[in-house]
């Protein structure tokens, strides 16, 4: 694990100085997740640190096995009981890792809500969507008539046309885009302050994706939500978020304002990712791709996890895990040769 002598000064705090008190928003420090895989505990998320200010947006980007989805599930305490979470998850100053299970459950949905990737799988096929949207309202003791009104309101907010009749529809009767809107309406039902969206548009068509991203943007602005967008798609993250955390093999490679990171990546992996994204609106030549495949927690090599694929790797990289260090202005990186990247 990266030995961090100083508490990382988190870039998110500087984005909105007015609300940068340590008790606001979400601050994750040195988060580790050990999951039981084939009977063995494996460190799937290894010491990651980031923060999301109130109304802030963070993108977590990573390829398969990078631990980005596990991180999202860990934030909401949705991992199996055999999972072990270490470090700190401070939500409005309260450490959720040490909070009681009941307390964490009360935060789920009501303060931090989640939007999942596949809307068809995320919805119970045997119940009308309106009931699913209104479920926590009803369970919270709201009166039936009020729940109905609120459900229609939420559906309207999520841009679902004709909500009064649609709420009686079953998930399979709706298109992919509408289903994802239902899932979003469901997430909004608890009036959360932070929305955790895990690959919210990956299962959708491009045109639908554009609309859903637009919807998420406007809802965020109207309701004043903070958002974490977990995605493998750098393009989506680049359009939606102010800050980005790049994950590789369960660790953070790089973290900083999205625009800066994309323009001047400080980690060779980020740089390679950016170069791998094919452009639509301009002719881009095929670049020399990175060799090898992304590693998962099971086959993470010693030293820097990225060194076998890294064009800048030196002997040191195979031995010593790079420290998580600040790179001005407001950036963090874990690379021995960060200064030479892109140079």
């Amino acid at each position: 694990m990266a030995p961090n002598s100083t508490a990382p000064r988190v870039a998110g705090a500087s984005a909105d100085p007015g609300e940068s008190s340590p008790d606001a928003g979400l601050r994750v420090r040195e988060l580790t997740v050990d999951l039981r895989v084939d009977g063995r505990l494996r460190r799937v998320v290894d010491g990651i640190t980031f923060a999301v200010a109130p109304r802030g947006t963070l993108g977590i980007i990573g390829e398969s096995g990078s631990g980005k989805s596990v991180t999202a599930l860990a934030l909401l305490d949705l991992l199996p009981e055999s999972a072990h979470i270490g470090g700190e998850i401070r939500w409005r100053g309260e450490d959720l890792v040490r909070a009681s299970a009941a307390r964490r459950r009360r935060i789920r949905g009501r303060e931090i809500a989640m939007v999942f990737q596949d809307p068809l799988a995320a919805l119970n096929p045997t119940r009308p969507v309106g009931r699913q949207i209104g479920e926590i309202l009803r369970r919270g003791g709201m009166r039936r008539a009020q729940v109905g009104e609120r459900v229609v309101e939420l559906m309207t907010m999520a841009g679902i046309p004709d909500p009064t009749s649609r709420r009686r529809a079953y998930p399979h009767q709706l298109s992919g885009g509408l289903r994802q809107r239902v899932v979003i309406a469901m997430a909004l039902a608890g009036e959360p302050s932070l929305l955790l969206a895990d690959e919210p548009t990956t299962a959708l068509d491009v045109t639908v994706q554009a609309r859903i991203l637009g919807l998420l943007g406007s809802i965020r602005a109207e309701a004043g939500l903070a958002m974490i967008l977990v995605s493998h798609d750098l393009r989506v993250v680049s359009h939606v978020t102010d800050e980005v955390a790049v994950m590789y093999a369960g660790r953070l490679a790089e973290y900083g304002p999205t625009r800066d990171v994309l323009r001047h990546p400080r980690h060779p992996y980020t740089q390679a990712l950016i170069q791998s994204v094919p452009a639509v609106h301009s002719r881009s030549a095929l670049t020399r791709p990175l060799p090898g495949t992304p590693v998962g927690p099971a086959n993470r090599p010693a030293g820097c996890a990225f060194h076998p694929r890294c064009p800048l790797a030196i002997d040191r990289c195979a031995v010593e895990q790079p420290a998580w260090r600040p790179v001005p202005p407001g950036r963090w990186v874990a690379c021995h040769r960060a200064e030479e990247v892109g140079a």
Binding site: V206, P278, V280, L286, T287, T293
Partner: protein, 262 residues
Amino acid sequence: MTGTRLRVENLAVAFGARRRLVGRADPLRAVDDVSFHVRDGEILGVVGESGSGKTTVARCVAGLQRYAEGTISFDDVPLGPVSARPPQLLRAIQMVFQDPRSSLNPRRTVAQCVGEAWTSFPVPGSADRRQATADLLADVGLDPDVAGRYPAQLSGGQCQRVSIARALAARPSMLVCDEAVSALDVSVQAQILRLLVDLRERHGLCMVFITHDLGVVRQVADRVVVMQHGVIVEQGPVDDVFAAPDQPYTRELLGAALDLHS
């Protein structure tokens, strides 16, 4: 100008016609009046959203899907379903599938997967199986050591390379790639795209490249066919179509497609 290899004319596929107890069946057209061609050494991109019929077209060309109307011919020989294709024609067109894992039989080794073609028809240069397999694996950038492994022991990108090697084992003239890179991580996707483009040059292959990712098409295709609801909306050279789309749907599609924003 080089010659036309694949020619698809007025292709129509009636799909999932719902049978009714009373009244006549109403066929849902998955593909209607689709015509395009692929020239020698060319990569034709076919783009569209889900339900546009692009995969159905690919499967018709591959002979895996029966079609109601139209003709498909390769080098001016009409193409029937796979079961009716003569060996020469069968060999000529091979396919690379989307999901790298399920496109390989998990109970067979890489060598067995790759060599499957040779059990059906003799292919020049396949007399020494072991050597031929090693050559093919090298051709797609794999270590010959993987020959004895099972698909589960390989990464997604490696599986896709094995699929490509299996297709190449038949010495095809054309590859049909159905979302061949969609399930891969971006960094691996770039590798496979690079490999396909290299193979085109080395083996003089032409390709039909089905994808929903406009960026991928722009990067590798020479010409593009845009499909929506089973019909072709627009087709032409990639740069022309992408720079100045004629049709509103193409414009919408391009408008929705994101580039890296910085």
